[in-house]
Symmetry: C2
């Protein structure tokens, strides 16, 4: 896994259309025409995105000259995930701190509600 490869993977993922194409291909192979359909985009515009995804190794194209179906190649996603993995403990720790904070806020709210209820009873 060279840095260049990770650069290409992350750059390819930095676009909502390209992420949507990957989501579509997760359901199965599709031709350029089938991929272009749900987007308000021309086939050449979709083809450009497919070239970026192909260069990043995120998809491959079939040999059938007519359709050249696109297929998801998940290994590059796995490599991007592996890089992120190194940071998992950081965001898990920050989410845990958020949980504690929310818990404290909730406890504080319930306490003030109980105080209010007691006052109303009086």
């Amino acid at each position: 896994m060279t840095p260049d490869h990770l650069d290409a993977t992350f750059a390819a993922l930095a676009d909502p259309t390209r992420r949507a194409i990957l989501a579509r291909l997760a359901l199965g192979e599709a031709s350029v025409m089938e991929l272009a359909e749900p987007f308000a985009m021309t086939q050449p515009a979709i083809s450009k995105h497919l070239k970026v995804l192909e260069r990043a190794g995120l998809i491959s194209r079939g040999r059938d000259a007519q359709r050249r179906p696109c297929r998801l190649e998940p290994a590059a996603l796995g490599e991007a995930d592996e890089w992120l993995e190194g940071y998992r403990r950081f965001w898990e720790a920050s989410f845990q701190r958020l949980d504690v904070l929310l818990g404290e806020l909730k406890a504080g709210e319930q306490k003030s509600e109980r105080t209010k209820a007691t006052r109303t009873k009086k």
Copy 2:
């Protein structure tokens, strides 16, 4: 988590210097000067990268006017990981297929080695 936000996160990660800066900040806060040191880069060049990381919410800058130390903000990395999570079963399946293939190749190799050994004994 808006798509724009994911775009900015993935685009920010698509650069080896920016990933190296995040790796450095995972060890603790650092000033621009401290960050520039290990790279053969000027402080303005590093500052440009820091701006990209800051806009993507991957780092924050301290208020100390002199040092403005940079700090890793891991939540955005967690969101990128969450997106990748949806594809985990795909690369896990492809890695498993690779394991099976490697296992078969290894078994084939050992078998041919045993055959060779038997032949040598004869």
